[in-house]
Symmetry: C2
Subunit: 383 residues, 2 copies
């Protein structure tokens, strides 16, 4: 096992009916006024907004609202929210939504203290502090509720980049799986695939006997079983809860203990794809790219890839494991090829160019531009 440091100060309140605790939790930490950041309005349909606002008001927390964060969240909305925070003098940010809202909220929280928030993503301005961040999660997928990472897109430059800083751990996140029982099937699958992908970014760094590899196997299987069960019974609370907690564990540091900082090249490739195709859902890009990356990189750590095939997919050998993975993706009605994403083969060179902008690319197997093209070709040929 490799050396590691683990430290995650976020408090999680998990379970049915936990949202009404938000006001009191914010108030007892001394905050008076929050920016409530949200997406397109689904939280007004499922009751989350009403529960949140009633709780804030009961606890005497003032708020200003900013709506309209979209999937693959963009810089312009973050800038708008930062301006609002400054004008209104808020002392904390409350994100209510899925990973896009949470990631945007992290950008707002640190951007409040920066000259130019995008410069943090460009790594030309250092994050030193952030407004306290609270979150109410409505879609389990990105793990953003219990980590210090944020991904943001600047569409006009085809850039989708990440930041991480200890000040970006949410103080408190509320995860009520019951509000996810009404999610469309496609979003449920995206949540499952995104979570599985986070685990896979760490998994292949390890040895089959590592404690964390065993934990990651267990969480992967739980996620797969939960998605299977939700395909049969979308309203099954226990499966929503298993998927939700599995999703948090997939990227809160536990899945990476002893696995260095993970691999992340498939995420970088996906960011390149969706920088060119902002309509591609992050998880759907990962669904297409991960099997291709595994096929291409298997030789870099064959024992662990074979262990993954056996332990997660009950398969003999990596090729069978990849088949089982793609079979399950098809069963879940997820895309398996670049064509399924609407990405044409002739776009591969441009996507590869974008992918190469973020360096280093690959740790288990460092990727050259040619490697990236080859992986994208595998993803183009998949069916």
């Amino acid at each position: 096992m490799n050396n590691f440091s683990f430290h995650n100060p976020t408090q999680i309140l998990f379970g049915k009916g936990t949202i009404p605790q938000i006001g009191e939790e914010i108030a007892r930490r001394g905050e008076k006024k929050v920016l409530l950041l949200a997406g397109s309005g689904s939280i007004k349909q499922n009751g989350v907004y009403d529960q949140t606002v009633q709780s804030l008001e009961a606890a005497g927390i003032a708020r200003v609202e900013c709506w309209g964060v979209q999937a693959n969240p963009v810089l312009s909305k973050v800038r708008e929210a930062i301006d609002l925070c400054r004008a209104e003098g808020v002392d904390a940010v409350l994100a209510v939504g899925g990973g896009s809202v949470l990631d945007s909220a992290k950008a707002v929280a640190c951007g409040f203290y920066l000259n130019d928030v995008w410069a943090a993503y460009e790594k030309t301005e250092a994050i030193t502090k952030a407004l306290p961040l609270y979150t109410i999660l409505t879609l389990s997928a990105t793990g953003s509720e219990m980590n210090m990472f944020s991904v943001l897109t600047k569409p006009e430059e085809h850039k989708k980049w990440a930041i991480g800083h200890p000040s970006l751990y949410p103080v408190l996140s509320i995860v009520d799986p019951a509000v996810q029982t009404s999610l469309p099937w496609r979003q449920t699958v995206c949540g499952g695939v995104d979570s599985l992908s986070h685990i896979m970014e760490f998994y292949f760094i390890g040895k089959p006997t590592d404690t964390t590899v065993a934990v990651n196997t267990a969480v992967s299987r739980t996620i797969i079983e939960a998605v299977d069960q939700l395909q049969r019974e979308p309203g099954d609370y226990d499966s929503r809860a298993s998927l939700a907690w599995g999703s948090t564990l997939a990227l809160n540091g536990i899945s990476g203990c002893g696995l260095n900082f993970g691999e992340w090249s498939t995420h970088q490739l996906e960011h390149a794809v969706s920088a060119h195709h902002p309509d591609v859902a992050h998880a759907e890009g990962l669904a297409v790219l991960f099997p291709a990356w595994i096929e291409y990189c298997e030789a870099a750590n064959p024992d662990t890839f074979a262990h993954w095939a056996q332990a997660v997919w009950d398969s003999n050998g990596v090729a069978d494991g990849i088949d089982a993975f793609r079979d399950r993706l098809r069963q879940w009605e997820a895309p398996v090829s670049l064509a399924d994403l609407g990405v044409k083969r002739e776009e591969i060179p441009a996507i590869a160019d974008t992918a190469m902008l973020t360096q280093p690319l690959g740790s288990l197997r460092p990727l050259s531009r040619e490697d990236v093209v080859n992986i994208l070709e595998i993803a183009a040929n998949a069916s």
Copy 2:
């Protein structure tokens, strides 16, 4: 899945060669003088003391030392250390040793601010704050390095009781598995059994499909495989590391997410046994009592007990699972009956009386005095 709150602010530095970071880690948090609390002197043999002291001195951290914490740590030593802290004006506690040293250090850290530290264990005086606590772990077993619990014995009253308070989370714990490669076999087994027992205190509360039950299965199997491997090759670093991190995960909150506050009746029974027999190692008491408790309580949640037998021990049914568990204990040269512990059958009534002093006793199945006697009889009859 049941609702839960998870919050664990302890930072872990894990791996080979991490001990020399202690001085800098303490210094950068502003502490100037620590109480170094230790056991019987094994840390002078294995180099841990020298590494620690050199690091403290290099970072300009003053220290006062208190030695002599023993297994099943006792109140009198804690009182001595608290007096020393007050006389010397330390501003933090540094525990260097195994679970007994760490648990004593927690008692010292909160006792510094209490009129009577034992009153906290008696629940007649409330803990409100504690000195910052740092730890260097030399024996993975109790999980104390990343939780807020402490167990202390008052031998003259046959009492062995626990406290828990958020202020008792260590600020930082260093776990270097390399220093454990020279441990005697018996202590390695005790570490494995103690860790497995912590997981079992949570496991049977859950449903087989719970994410945490899957994680607990994975960690249990990792611990069992690591102990097996260490029986063949005591110096195997990777197995020491797997056991060490498994042991931390067994009681840092992760193993209990969605499993309420766990069961803990077997621990309470063991505390009663070792209150009467301070010579009984905690883990050896657990080795004898846990199979008996499982046999007695199986009907309270049959699906999950059966799942445990299958998933952890590859056994069909709980009876076979218990057999496999006891077989492994014997293979590890651990005790399996009260007689193996030197506890006579005629002591059962007195032990049961002591066990009943701590209430409630049992959550999955609440235990009457008669139930306790029956479980102890099963443990007496085991072979």
